[in-house]
């Protein structure tokens, strides 16, 4: 098993508020890691630390170490632009650019020069949209604005946009929160297909989904990593009472 990203003793602060407290966790390519826990427990914060999106948040600080392929992502010689290209992210709220559907997906390949010529770019756009399960719905309207799509379509557009860069790690923050059961099933299928090639972490509030798509589950509560292990163990035999309460729906 190759560990792709590892966080050790990571604490995160927004000003005086501690959003994460001494969290250690690994993400690897063999397993999909599900992050679960009640609202405000720091799941999004952890994802944002992994590709240093919190750098730009005023007042945000991080302690501890995070490594990508054994290399400290906060090291001086780590290029944050390259880090973000390698660690892709799908945000909690869909955020397509006010550009055409095509240009949304082509954005990453274009700035990184990943496709030579229009033909290659077309192919990248099509594959990405297909993998995100959006191709059939938009193939005849690639020039329409991405912002004109429905919420669920926008969410899948953002997934396609992240896939088009061909990252090594994919962080998904509640990618199915705005999707219907059919689209959700497609995304779950996609995650299954991507496993092994990409290291994937997914935040979800849907326990069945966590059980279906992930092999590892991390349960967070109030900024702490309460329990972390094989998904089957956590769902059948949780050790902490708070984990048990949460997954059986007693609160959260």
């Amino acid at each position: 098993m190759t560990v792709k990203m590892s966080a050790r003793h990571v604490s995160a602060y927004y000003g005086d508020l501690r959003a994460l407290d001494d969290v250690s966790i690994d993400i690897d390519t063999q397993h999909v890691t599900a992050l679960i826990g009640p609202s405000g427990c720091g799941k999004s914060t952890l994802l944002r630390l992994l590709n240093r999106m919190n750098d730009a948040v005023p007042g945000a600080r991080v302690e501890g170490s995070i490594e990508l392929d054994g290399q400290d992502i906060h090291a001086r010689d780590m290029d944050v632009v390259e880090l973000r290209a390698r660690v892709g992210m799908v945000f909690q709220k869909p955020n397509p650019f006010p550009k055409s559907i095509y240009d949304n997906v082509a954005y990453g390949p274009r700035i990184h020069g990943l496709a030579r010529g229009r033909g290659e770019l077309d192919a990248v756009v099509e594959t990405s949209l297909r993998r995100a399960g959006l191709w059939d719905e938009v193939k005849d309207r690639l020039d329409d604005r991405g912002t004109a799509l429905s919420g669920g379509q926008q969410q899948r557009l953002c997934i396609a946009r992240a896939l088009a860069v061909d990252p090594e790690v994919i962080l998904m923050d509640e990618p199915c929160s705005a999707l219907d059961p059919i689209a959700t099933a497609r995304i779950e299928e996609l995650i299954g297909a991507l496993r092994g090639r990409y290291a994937i972490a997914i935040v979800t509030h849907n326990m069945q989904q966590a059980a279906r798509v992930s092999q590892r589950t991390a349960f967070f509560y109030a900024g702490r990593l309460v329990e972390y292990g094989d998904t089957s163990d956590i769902f059948t035999n949780p050790r902490a009472t708070s984990t048990k309460d949460y997954i059986t729906g007693r609160y959260g």
Partner: protein
């Protein structure tokens, strides 16, 4: 009684009625649980005392001088006045000054006679004004007091009066604009009865100093002026202001550390606070000579000390804070999720600005630039001090160039009669300039509005 004394008196009455109405309302304990408070009954009475009487007084003050003069002119002595012209006006002014005690000795016997007449008429009118104002205030006040009883909804009545007050306040601005426009149209109309609009707008020769009375239009072609105006205000000034303003906004909003921003932003705002006249002499005394030397060095034999370049450069610097603040606002209005989306894909900040932020903010920025152009071409002080009085149709930035505003100032200063084609031309220039800036502003507003809708 003098106007100011009257106003004080009316205000005093209002306070009095406020007290009385409130005291009455206290006696019956307001109007139910959710009805009007005693103080609202007070306000109701006070506003009724104030509004009609002060409105009357204002109207009276505007119209009284004319009515007084009319009354004086009905005096037999006035028949000796010359029928029209300056002498008649100065005689009347002298008589008025004598009557008011602002002048001591009289030059003309006729003025002295009229002054007596003025004095009596003024005293009479004064009495009328005083009596009418106080009468209005009192009767309105008592009428209001009579309404103050337990079932009366003073609260909503006060609300209605306040609405009227607010409406009145906004009408003042609108009516003033309408008045200015009307006079502009009227004077321009007189000008265009002497010179055809085609000749005025398309003529390429501008020399109001040497007008041929038989064909005034031949030397009143405004094309060189409008050319100069756009060359300086929309060309040179924007070539300076847009890059500087836009780039500094990008730096401040996307790159600068918060400490840097805390220093630089106020510095830019100071630039916006420099009076234009200071920019004017900076342009005339510092920049213009330097530009002339530069022009000479570059081999322009006609490099002028009143060049378009000097005025345009300084005007551009003046506009920088405006462009920068508009651009800053437009960039800030782009949702931060857009920025994060781009950064998360591995785009650099510069790529994010170029591909995501600028395209999204562009309509707002373009609208801001249009407003800036409209401001630049209306700008007067810098060009009065640094541009030339001679209008030439040239694209050479080192040559002397004039602008519309500069010419308006030139046309209206000095000894002029107010109905020659020369002075009337100033109004026509003003009207044309107004037309241009109005179009620019409307287009800019349209752009900005379209842009807002996109993110709402």
């Amino acid at each position: 009684m003098k106007g100011s004394t009257l106003v004080i008196l009316v205000v005093g009455l209002a306070v009095l009625f406020w007290q009385v109405a409130r005291a009455r309302a206290y006696q019956f304990g307001g109007s139910g649980k959710f009805g009007s408070l005693p103080a609202q009954h007070g306000w109701f009475a006070a506003l009724w005392v104030l509004l009609p009487s002060l409105a009357f007084l204002a109207a009276w003050q505007i119209n009284a001088p004319g009515m007084v003069t009319d009354a004086v002119l009905r005096d037999p002595a006035a028949a000796a006045l010359p029928p029209t012209g300056l002498t008649r006006a100065s005689l009347l002014a002298e008589a008025r000054a004598l009557a008011n005690g602002t002048a001591t000795g009289a030059f003309h016997g006729l003025a002295r006679d009229l002054a007596r007449r003025y004095a009596t008429v003024q005293v009479r009118f004064n009495w009328i004004a005083t009596a009418a104002t106080l009468g209005l205030a009192l009767s309105a006040g008592f009428a209001a007091l009579a309404k103050v009883h337990s079932g009366f909804r003073a609260r909503s009545q006060v609300e209605r009066l306040v609405t009227l007050l607010l409406l009145g306040a906004s009408l003042v601005a609108i009516l003033t604009t309408a008045g200015i426009l009307a006079s502009l149209f009227w004077e321009s109309g007189r000008f265009f009865s002497l010179v055809s609009p085609g000749q005025f707008l398309l003529g390429t020769h501008w020399s109001p100093q040497s007008i041929d009375p038989a064909a005034p239009g031949d030397s009143l072609g405004s094309l060189p002026l409008f050319w100069g105006t756009f060359f300086i205000g929309a060309g040179i000034a924007m070539a300076v202001a847009v890059p500087l303003g836009l780039l500094s906004a990008i730096y401040l909003s996307q790159y600068a550390a918060s400490t840097t921003r805390r220093v630089l932003k106020p510095a830019l705002e100071v630039l916006a606070g420099v009076p234009t006249v200071v920019y004017g002499y900076f342009a005339a005394l510092t920049v213009a000579p330097a530009v002339r030397h530069l022009g000479m060095a570059l081999g322009y034999a006609d490099a002028s000390g009143e060049s378009a370049l000097a005025a345009g450069l300084v005007m551009g610097i003046m506009i920088v804070p405006f462009i920068s603040s508009v651009s800053d606002d437009s960039l800030a209005a782009v949702p931060s999720a857009m920025r994060e989306a781009s950064l998360a894909l591995g785009a650099t900040p510069a790529e994010t600005v170029r591909h995501v932020l600028l395209p999204a903010a562009l309509p707002g920025i373009a609208g801001g630039i249009m407003l800036a152009v409209s401001r630049a071409i209306g700008e007067t002080m810098i060009v009065v001090m640094a541009a030339s009085g001679v209008a030439t149709l040239t694209a050479n930035p080192f040559a002397s160039t004039s602008t519309v505003t500069r010419q308006i100032v030139d046309l209206l200063t000095g000894e002029q009669t107010f109905d020659s084609p020369k002075t009337l031309a100033a109004f026509a220039l003003g009207l044309a300039l107004f037309g241009v800036t109005l179009c620019l502003n409307l287009a800019a507003l349209g752009l900005v509005r379209r842009y807002r809708e996109r993110y709402d």
